[in-house]
Subunit: 248 residues, 2 copies
DNA sequence: CTGGACCCTCACGCAACGTAAGAGTGTAGC
DNA sequence: GCTACACTCTTACGTTGCGTGAGGGTCCAG
């Protein structure tokens, strides 16, 4: 009927110690115990273990995973859909690693000098981890964002995008000022409001995290740098200054 | 010229703390230090960091990586070739994870009962980690094996394969005996000798590890079970018994 | 000079188990 | 019934690779 720890461990590719640990922290508990104390896992337990291993694969800590799985509105199907997408991105990352290796090898064959940034392409976890966390870590915000935008038309999206780009351009025009210049802060505040109004209730701390992405996530960095060299760092500083003042 | 920690951290997708740590343990040291103590990393340092991150990506511990990189015969090009291959296998694994998700989703749509082993396909790290370790952990054995087999002809390979299969079939025929039956042990000993003679000097401990693979690695398990149901476990037990006695 | 970004060292703490010890359980074979 | 082996349990110390914070120095533009 059910499985004991050795069978489950082999089935799932984890150790018996891991199963003990997960039981101890209440993450994955066996449905039954024999009279002699043996753990017996049933189908539902294995389903849950699968979910745990997926989230773990995506970089979540065990306490985080436990919290997520215990939300009243946790939806297994939706989780699997998200996992699939995130795993696809993970696969993209491996492909980029492979490409980096190949490019390194080629440059060695040809005796050419490869730009150093190519060497490390694929090692930056942050974009994927942040993506996963956006999906599940800030789930309230993500859900609210999806609810609000569900009915957006193409025109709505264009309007929001235009507004965002407009604000960014204004910030770019102010980039020769100090990050805490009143006009800069006021413009940053408009970006904060835009997110809160159009996407989700964005706390100061969340906004601060978004600001940091400008310099830690190469996609964001590239976006800002296109508008004006140095804008990524300036934007990050300005958001930081704005958030510092919003807490006094 | 060189880079300080912030630039390197961003370039490589690691933290400054990580760079401090790697310096502290002598894994990746900056080529220079300014008068004020700032670390300055040069190109060679970044090359080494790349190597470290690749090995780390493949599951090696930092001490292991250090040891590997410090071998007199460490060959960067060969390492990159190996990394590419192992990364390809890693990619295969992600694809299997994706497939498992998709199959789980399909069975949910159709209300069918999916076999539980499908749920966890892709989560078994051991085959990939063992493969990496075979490449680098037991490098002496791997290298010796490659040297010996480099000149093997198709006929040689057929001969070795036939010999292996022959021994396995004999073991299968003895599988209704106890794992420590004298005939069983003697036949297992012939397998051990075959590996040592045809591939590499295989210590008892290494052979013990190979025996365990029969039950922990699904490729091996499948091979043995094809010959006879239950053979994988029997083989593992027999190898274990053989190794236990070979140490007295 | 000031402020902000960057840098340093030191050091405590933590997550997720790995490993081992000591002891009980289940079952097939003698 | 006994024995041996595979499996199980709980307890608990230890490990690896940093994260975080404290306290203080350096660099450079305004």
């Amino acid at each position: 009927m059910g499985h004991t720890v050795k069978a489950v461990a082999q089935l799932a590719g984890v150790t018996i110690r891991t199963l003990h640990h997960y039981d101890a922290i209440g993450l994955v508990r066996p449905g039954e115990r024999t009279e002699s104390g043996y753990r017996v896992y049933g189908r539902r337990d294995l389903e849950r273990l699968q979910q745990v291993l997926f989230f773990k694969e995506l970089g979540f800590g065990l306490a985080e995973i436990k919290e997520i799985l215990e939300r009243p509105d946790f939806d297994r199907r939706q989780a699997l859909l998200d996992h699939r997408e995130l795993l696809t991105h993970r696969k993209d990352r491996i492909e980029r690693l492979i490409k980096a290796v190949e490019q390194t090898l080629e440059s060695m064959e040809e005796g050419t000098m490869l730009e150093e940034s190519v060497w490390f392409d694929g090692f930056d976890h942050s974009r994927y981890e942040e993506e996963a966390r956006q999906r599940w870590g800030h789930t309230d915000a993500y859900r609210e964002s999806r609810e609000r935008t569900a009915a957006y038309t193409e025109a709505d999206w264009s309007g929001v995008a235009a507004e965002q780009t407009g604000i960014l351009k204004e910030i770019a025009a102010l980039a020769d000022r100090r990050p805490d210049d009143p006009d800069v802060l006021q413009t940053i505040g408009r970006m904060h409001s835009l997110i809160s109004e159009r996407f989700y209730a964005c706390s100061v701390e969340m906004f601060r995290g978004i600001g940091e992405l400008a310099v830690t996530d190469s996609r964001f960095t590239a976006t800002y740098e296109k508008l004006r060299p140095g804008l990524a760092a300036f934007y990050a500083s300005a958001v930081r200054a704005y958030c510092d003042r919003s807490q006094t």
